[in-house]
C-alpha cells in the first residue's frame, strides 16, 4: 500500500493511482433498534387509566414489552412491537389475563396490517426490521421466508431430507464464493457470503446510505456498488469492497474510479425499467450530486438506453477490453435484464470476456421507473436463472463464469432458491434499504425524496440515517441471513454453498408438487 500523502496524480502503484488506506469494519452483531420513537409490531398493547403500576407485567413479560425502570413510580408505555400476540395466551405470563386491574388490552396493530404488498408483505418488512435489529430470524409468528405474490420464489419450497445425509456442524459450512473462474491471471476475488449489494447511485440514495452499505460489505468481505452517479470520495476507504458501475450515461465515470476497485460493472439494463434507461429527477440533482456527475444542478439527468457504442457482441467485447486495459486487475461484471433471449445474451457476454454475468429480473427495485415497465417488461428472475444456467451448462462454459441473480431477492430463502435454480450468488438492494427502515412507500422519486431519509439527497432528511447505525443494521441483516444459509445447508448435509448451485432436486413447486409435499407445505 502506498502512503496516502503522495499526490493523487502520481502514477505509482504499477501505473495505478495511490490507494487510500483501507479501513476495516468489525463483523459483529450488536443490537440496532428501530430509529423511530414508535417501532411497529404486529400487535398493539394498550394500558388504560386503571393501571396501578404494580409492576406485575414487568416481572411477567420475557419479551421486554413492559418496563418500569428503577426509581420510576409509573410503568412505561408498553414496547408493544416486541409482543408476540395471542400466542402468549397459552403461557403462564400472558399479561392481559394476569393484570389484577384488567388495565391491559391487546389488539392487532392496524398500521402493520396496512403496510406491505404481495411481494413485500407486512410480515417480510417487519421480519427484515427484526433481523436488522437483532441479527437473528424472528422467533415466532412473522413469516420471514417468503412473500405472498403467488408465484416464483413464493411458490418454491425446500425438499428437506428427513435426516441430513451427512451430519455437519454449523462451523464447517462455507458460504463463500470465488468471483473469477476464468483462469485469466486476474485475481481470484473471494466473498464470504453469496450476496453483494446492487448499484444505487449517489443521487438516488444519500451518502449515509451508501456508506452504511459499503461498510457492511467491508465487514462481510463482500461488495457494494456505486450505481451510476460517480464515486464519492468518502467511499475510498472501502475501495476493496466497492464495485464501480459504468452505465449508459457514464455519469461520474473516470479512469481513476475504474482503477481504484476490484470489480467494474457494466450496466446494460435494469430489471425494473428494462430497455428504458434511467432518469434522475431535477429535484434530486443537488449541487453535490451534480458535481459528482459533472452535470448542472437542478436539471433532470437521463441515462439513455442502450449503450450507443454497443450494437453487437463484438462492440460489447471492445467495451470490456476497454475496462480490462484501464484496470489490469479488475474483474468485469455485465449486468443485463431478462429478455426472452437472455440465455444468448449471457453466452455473448461470456465470449466477450465477462467474469460475472448479472441478471436483473423484472421485479427488481428502482429509484424511479414507469409502473408499466416494472410490471410488464422482461421476465421475473425466477424464470431467467434456470434458463441461463441450463444454457451455459449445455454450452460447456458454466464453470468458467459466475452467474448472479437480482431483482426481487427479498429474503435469505430467496437467495437459496435462486442458487438452487442455478445462480452462483445474488445481488440485493431493496432488502438492504428495508433494513435501513424503508417502508416501500414508493415515493423515492418525488420532491425532496425519501421521507425516511434513505433514498434522498435532501440535507435535512438524510440525517435521519446515522452511518454507524445503518452499518450495524446491515451487518445484522447479513448475519441473520447467514444463519439461515447455514441452517438450510446443514439440513441438506452440504458443506458448501457452491454445492447448492443448480440443485433443483432440493426444491419443489407448490403447484406441481406431489400430494404429500403439498400437504406438508
Amino acid at each position: 500500500m502506498i502512503s496516502a500523502v503522495e499526490p493523487k496524480n502520481a502514477r505509482a502503484n504499477n501505473g495505478r493511482l495511490p490507494r487510500t488506506p483501507q479501513r476495516p469494519v468489525e463483523r459483529e452483531v450488536r443490537p440496532a433498534p428501530d430509529r423511530y420513537r414508535n417501532p411497529i409490531g404486529r400487535y398493539k398493547v394498550r394500558r388504560s387509566a386503571d393501571c396501578r403500576s404494580c409492576g406485575l407485567c414487568v416481572e411477567l413479560c420475557p419479551h421486554g414489552v413492559h418496563q418500569k425502570p428503577a426509581g420510576y413510580s409509573l410503568t412505561l408505555r408498553p414496547r408493544d412491537y416486541l409482543c408476540i400476540g395471542p400466542a402468549c395466551a397459552e403461557t403462564d405470563h400472558f399479561c392481559i389475563e394476569r393484570c389484577p386491574n384488567h388495565a391491559l388490552s391487546l389488539a392487532r396493530n392496524p398500521t402493520a396490517d396496512a403496510i406491505g404488498d404481495p411481494r413485500w408483505t407486512s410480515d417480510l418488512i417487519l421480519s427484515t426490521w427484526h433481523q436488522a435489529e437483532t441479527g437473528h430470524a424472528p422467533a415466532g409468528g412473522l413469516e420471514f421466508q417468503h412473500g405472498a405474490s403467488g408465484g416464483g420464489f413464493d411458490k418454491l419450497r425446500f425438499r428437506f431430507p428427513e435426516q441430513p445425509p451427512v451430519a455437519l456442524d454449523a462451523g464447517e459450512i462455507d458460504t463463500g464464493l470465488e468471483l473469477n473462474r476464468r483462469n485469466d491471471g486476474r485475481p481470484r476475488v473471494h466473498i464470504d457470503l453469496p450476496v453483494y449489494g446492487g448499484g444505487m447511485s449517489f443521487g438516488s440514495v444519500s451518502i449515509h446510505t451508501m456508506l452504511a452499505r459499503a461498510r457492511a460489505a467491508t465487514a462481510w468481505n463482500t461488495f457494494s456498488c456505486t450505481g451510476e452517479g460517480g464515486y464519492p470520495e468518502r467511499l475510498e476507504p472501502y475501495d476493496d469492497h466497492m464495485i464501480t458501475q459504468v452505465a449508459t450515461g457514464l455519469f461520474g465515470v473516470r479512469e481513476e474510479t475504474i482503477q481504484r476497485v476490484r470489480i467494474v460493472e457494466f450496466k446494460y439494463a435494469q430489471g425494473a425499467k428494462p430497455g428504458l434507461g434511467g432518469h434522475l429527477l431535477g429535484d434530486k440533482n443537488t449541487p453535490d450530486v451534480a458535481r459528482m456527475r459533472q452535470a448542472v444542478a437542478g436539471n433532470a439527468l437521463f441515462s439513455p438506453f442502450p449503450f450507443h457504442s454497443v450494437y453487437s457482441v463484438e462492440d460489447h467485447k471492445k467495451h470490456l477490453d476497454w475496462i480490462k486495459m484501464t484496470n489490469p486487475k479488475a474483474l468485469v461484471s455485465v449486468k443485463v435484464s431478462t429478455p426472452t433471449d437472455v440465455d444468448m445474451v449471457a453466452v455473448g457476454s461470456y465470449f466477450a470476456g465477462a467474469h460475472i454475468i448479472h441478471l436483473d429480473g423484472s421485479y427488481g427495485g428502482t429509484g424511479a421507473a414507469p409502473d408499466i415497465a416494472k410490471k410488464n417488461i422482461a421476465m421475473p428472475i425466477e424464470y431467467a436463472v434456470p434458463k441461463v444456467h441450463k444454457f451455459l451448462v449445455a454450452e460447456g462454459i458454466r464453470d468458467e463464469v459466475v452467474l448472479i441473480a437480482s431483482g426481487g431477492i427479498r429474503t435469505a430463502h430467496d437467495v437459496l432458491k435462486a442458487i438452487a435454480l442455478g445462480a452462483d450468488s445474488v445481488v440485493v438492494g431493496t432488502a438492504e434499504l428495508v433494513a435501513l427502515g424503508c417502508i416501500r412507500c414508493g415515493s423515492c422519486e418525488s420532491g425532496r425524496g425519501c421521507a425516511r431519509g434513505i433514498a434522498t439527497t435532501d440535507p435535512e432528511l438524510m440525517l435521519q440515517v446515522d452511518i454507524d447505525w445503518g452499518t450495524q443494521r446491515l451487518i445484522n441483516l447479513f448475519a441473520a441471513w447467514r444463519e439461515q444459509f447455514v441452517d438450510v445447508l446443514r439440513r441438506f448435509g452440504m458443506p458448501s454453498i457452491a454445492e447448492f448451485r443448480g440443485r433443483t432436486d432440493c426444491l419443489y413447486h407448490l403447484d406441481y408438487a406431489k400430494e404429500g409435499e403439498a400437504a406438508r407445505a
Partner: protein
C-alpha cells in the same frame, strides 16, 4: 422533420376529492399537546393541506387522500397515538376486474396525462389471469435485426383500418384497378360506446370531441351522430344494430367507417352501405363467442375485411361454458387467418377487458391490429366501476359533468396511454406498432416460462 403526432394534454384536476388509499387514525384524547407535533413535520405537508379542507365546518372530516404512508408521523408521535389504515372506501372501489389501484392510476392519468412513475420495485402479485400472464420483451443490445431506437419521437403508433390489398389489381385493359380506401388512425385505439353511462349529452359530445382531438374514431349509435359538429363527422363510426341506412344517408356519406352488428344479413348490409358510400370501411361487430374464429373466416370469405371482436367487459368469451380470455381467442383467430394466408388483408379490432395501457400492447401482440375501449373512458371521468347494474345514483355524479372538461380527461388518459405504448415499444426496440401485431416472439407467456423453468420440479 416530419410533423409529429401530438396529444394535446392539459391538466384537468378531479372535480371531487379523490378517494385516497391511506388514512391515519388517532386517539386524540391521549394527546399531550406537546407542541412537537409530527403532523406539522410531514414531508409532504399533507396535514397542513388537510387542515385547510377539514376546517370547513360544513364538511365531514375526511382522511388525507394524498398520504403516502411513509409512517413518519405514526412512528414519530410523542405518545404513539397514530395508526395507519387503508381507507375502506378505497378498497371498495371497482369490481373483480377493475382493482382499486387500477382505478386510482387511471384517474391520475386522466388528470395529468402523464405516465405513472414511482420508486421501489413492482408491488403486485407475481402474475394473474388474462393479460397479467404475459410479459413483454425488451431488446438487450439493439441489433440490426431489430429496429433500433432512434429516439422515441420516431416510434410510429399509427395503424390502418380497412381492406388491405395484397397485390395490385388490373382491369381488363391493363389499367390499374381501384381498391377501396383504407383509413389510418394515429393511435391503435378507438373509443367505443361505454357499456354504461348516465344519460348525458355532455359525455357523448366529449367522446366525439376526444376522438376528433386524438385523430381516431369513436363508435356511436346512429341516432347519436347528430351530436357531432360537421368537422367531427369523420371521427364517427356509427354502429347499426338494424339496417336503418336510408334514414342516415347524409351522415353515411360523411363518415369513414361504419360498424354493423353481425347477423345473418351482414354481407348484404355491407353491400347496401357501399351502395350509399363506396369509400366506407365496413366493420362487422362480432360477439366473441366460441364460434368466433369460424365466423371471422366466413366473414372474410364474404368480403368483410374489418372485424370488431367484442368480449365482455372483463375480457371473457361470451356464451361459453368455460370462457377463455380474449388474449387466447385472439391468438386462435390470428393464427387461423395466417394459416389461411389472409392475415394481412384483415383488420381485427379487439375490445372487452382493455383496461390498462399494457393491455393495448398485449392485445396487439396476441393478434389484434388495434383495440377499442369503453370502460376506461368512464373511469377517466371519475367512474368507480361500481359492481352491479349501474342504475343507482352515481357516487362521482358523472351525469353533471361538463363536456369540455370530460373531453380533456379522456384526451389526457389516451395521451398517457400513448406515451406508455411508446415506452413498451421502445423497450422492445420496435419502431412501428403495425409490426407488433401477432409478434408473440416479443412477449413471454407464463405457461411457457413455467414449463421451461419449473417443469422439472414436479417429481
Amino acid at each position: 422533420m416530419p410533423k409529429r403526432y401530438h396529444v394535446p394534454i392539459v391538466p384537468a384536476p378531479a372535480r371531487f376529492r379523490p378517494v385516497g388509499k391511506y388514512g391515519t387514525v388517532d386517539w386524540r384524547e391521549d394527546c399531550s399537546r406537546c407542541k412537537n407535533c409530527v403532523k406539522l413535520q410531514c414531508v409532504y405537508d399533507v396535514y397542513r393541506s388537510e387542515y385547510a379542507y377539514n376546517s370547513d365546518p360544513s364538511l365531514p372530516v375526511e382522511p388525507p387522500f394524498d398520504c403516502r404512508a411513509c409512517l413518519s408521523c405514526i412512528q414519530g408521535c410523542t405518545k404513539g397515538l397514530l395508526s395507519l389504515s387503508v381507507n375502506p372506501e378505497y378498497l371498495a372501489l371497482g369490481d373483480d376486474y377493475w382493482h382499486p389501484d387500477m382505478i386510482a392510476a387511471t384517474w391520475d392519468q386522466a388528470e395529468t396525462g402523464r405516465i405513472p412513475v414511482s420508486g421501489a420495485g413492482y408491488r403486485g402479485p407475481f402474475s394473474g389471469p388474462g393479460f397479467d400472464s404475459i410479459w413483454t420483451d425488451m431488446s438487450e443490445i439493439v441489433r440490426p435485426t431489430r429496429d433500433g431506437i432512434h429516439g422515441r419521437e420516431y416510434i410510429n403508433t399509427s395503424v390502418d383500418i380497412g381492406p388491405k390489398p395484397t397485390h395490385l389489381v388490373f382491369g381488363p385493359d391493363g389499367e390499374l384497378g381501384t381498391a377501396r380506401p383504407i383509413l389510418e388512425v394515429p393511435v391503435p385505439v378507438i373509443l367505443d360506446i361505454p357499456p354504461w353511462a348516465p344519460p348525458s349529452e355532455a359525455i357523448l359530445s366529449a367522446r366525439i370531441a376526444a376522438a376528433a382531438a386524438l385523430g381516431t374514431l369513436t363508435v356511436v349509435r346512429p341516432s347519436d351522430a347528430a351530436a357531432a359538429t360537421p368537422d367531427q363527422i369523420s371521427s364517427l363510426a356509427p354502429l347499426f344494430e338494424e339496417p336503418e341506412f336510408t334514414q342516415h344517408e347524409s351522415m353515411l356519406r360523411g363518415v369513414r367507417m361504419v360498424e354493423i352488428a353481425d347477423g345473418a344479413n351482414t354481407l348484404s348490409h355491407s353491400e347496401q352501405l357501399h351502395a350509399i358510400n363506396p369509400d366506407l370501411v365496413v366493420c362487422a361487430r362480432v360477439r366473441l363467442e366460441p364460434a368466433a374464429t369460424e365466423r371471422v373466416w366466413s366473414l372474410y370469405q364474404g368480403g368483410i375485411k374489418v372485424i370488431h371482436l367484442c368480449a365482455d367487459t372483463q375480457g371473457r368469451e361470451i356464451g361459453a361454458e368455460r370462457p377463455r380470455f380474449v388474449k387466447d381467442v385472439l391468438r386462435e383467430i390470428h393464427v387461423r387467418l395466417i394459416q389461411e394466408g389472409v392475415r394481412d388483408e384483415v383488420t381485427l379490432i379487439a375490445s372487452g377487458g382493455i383496461a390498462l395501457p399494457e393491455h393495448v400492447a398485449k392485445a396487439i401482440i396476441c393478434g389484434a391490429d388495434l383495440v377499442a375501449v369503453g370502460v376506461p373512458l368512464m373511469v377517466a371521468l371519475g367512474c368507480r366501476v361500481c359492481p352491479g347494474d349501474h342504475n343507482g345514483s352515481c357516487p362521482a355524479d358523472i351525469q353533471s359533468i361538463d363536456a369540455s372538461y370530460a373531453t380533456q380527461r379522456m384526451v389526457n388518459l389516451m395521451g398517457a396511454w400513448h406515451s406508455q405504448l411508446i415506452e413498451v415499444l421502445g423497450a422492445m426496440g420496435i419502431r412501428e406498432v403495425r409490426r407488433l401485431r401477432g409478434e408473440v416472439g416479443r412477449a413471454m407467456f407464463q405457461e411457457d416460462l413455467e414449463r421451461e423453468a419449473f417443469g422439472d420440479l414436479g417429481g
